[in-house]
Subunit: 229 residues, 2 copies
DNA sequence: AATAAATTCATACGTATGTTTTAAATCCTG
DNA sequence: CAGGATTTAAAACATACGTATGAATTTATT
């Protein structure tokens, strides 16, 4: 772990496969990419794919989770840090939202293809991913729902769930947009975009409920993450 | 148009194919559905698919456009009607948003599988659809952008474009959510959901800009609809 | 340098794909 | 009823798919 410069050849191959898979799966979807095309794009022998990952499905899962895990971890870290600094006070909504969004944006800057893969995967998750997706998302979702509930006591939980789903849709679209502009990195602009994304989402989340009673039945956030789905 | 009961056999076959394609393409994506599976699910002979549509791509295009055209038409009709009633005054933002959202919601109620197909298609459009998608969306988009510009003169056009993309993401997610709850139709609840979707989106669109200068460069709305893409 | 383990390679298997074809049925319209 | 349009069945087409195999080669360890 010490010297990151030297790597076994096998690690290079596996990483090339992951990077290529991230890009191609993001662009064409799981079924839109064949193992031959993938191996060729990664400049790797076809058999190396099964040697390193065993199957196409596993390669997809590992490609997705590799960064998704890190992003979610960073989310919870940011939220925890903000919580610590607040000394028990409810956090401002925009701050919570920023804890949600910033890791996505950062990941998108560092790895332009990743957000497209996320959008595809969350909007229409392959069935072989359901379980691990659920396991990955649930704890984080709970953290943020809790934070929002404390920050927005006037918004009923059911409505909050709906709004969080809408917010998720906005972030996904934002990620797709980001990966579409292959513009050279410009920290000023990136910060501006993040700010606007946060503003938009926080406004929606914090707006006064439009409906009075319990006309809104339970609508859990991302449908594909429900246990019964 | 008078007696809807009687139909030519050929029309029945083609419609069964379209309905089945809508459901299966929405669930598994273009590459996730084979013609044999599709024909079988539609209880139609395999050769009938090429007889009626010529190719899988054409079937996808026609499946998608069949309702998407109608939805967009309804959007522009609602907006035009609202404009007519406003006597030259800028429309309230929530009203414009409702003109955008209502047709999607109505379509989702009548045809539960459709919105999933829309979400998939708009978030990651197959390349053979780019052209017709662009042609279908551009005029409508212009109408609504114009309406929003009049209603929100304090929001710069670039920012408005970004926010519209985020709003689109929210609607897509909303549509996916809707098709996930296969709950029996309840007009009261449906109206409540629509109201909340409108409230969320309008709040985001109308919020005060978070950035001061021209740090936001041009960011055209849906990336896949740009001419250069 | 020798041995063992890890990795790469070309090739092949069985199956599935979208599409086409042929021929015989069945339907609808004029 | 005649005749064209539509549907069916079955088979074949070339191509692509995910995966497996076993030998060749590289890498690591002694």
């Amino acid at each position: 772990m010490a010297a990151a410069g030297k790597k076994h050849q096998s690690a290079v191959t596996a990483q090339r496969l992951l990077d290529t898979a991230e890009r191609l799966f993001g662009e064409h979807g799981y079924n839109g990419v064949g193992m031959r095309a993938l191996a060729h794009a990664a400049r790797v022998n076809l058999a190396a794919t099964t040697y390193h990952f065993g199957s196409k499905k596993i390669l997809y899962v590992e490609t997705f989770l590799r960064r998704f895990r890190a992003v979610n971890l960073r989310r919870s870290e940011l939220l925890a840090a903000a919580d610590r600094a607040a000394h028990g006070q409810p956090l401002p909504v925009e701050l919570i939202v920023e804890c949600m969004m910033r890791p996505s944006m950062e990941a998108g800057i560092e790895h332009p293809a990743f957000n497209k893969l996320v959008a595809r995967t969350l909007l229409a998750p392959p069935k072989f991913l359901h379980q691990q997706l659920q396991a990955e998302l649930e704890p984080n979702l709970k953290l943020f729902i809790g934070a929002f509930e404390r920050a927005l006591p006037q918004v009923p939980t059911d409505l909050l769930n709906l709004r969080l789903a809408l917010a998720l849709g906005a972030v996904l679209m934002f990620g797709v947009q980001m990966s579409a502009l292959k513009v050279k990195r410009d920290p000023r602009r990136e910060a501006a975009f993040l700010k606007e994304l946060v503003r938009f989402t926080a406004s929606g989340l914090a707006s006064a409920p439009a409906t009075v009673g319990a006309e809104l039945a339970r609508l859990k956030p991302p449908a594909h993450l429900k246990r019964t789905a």
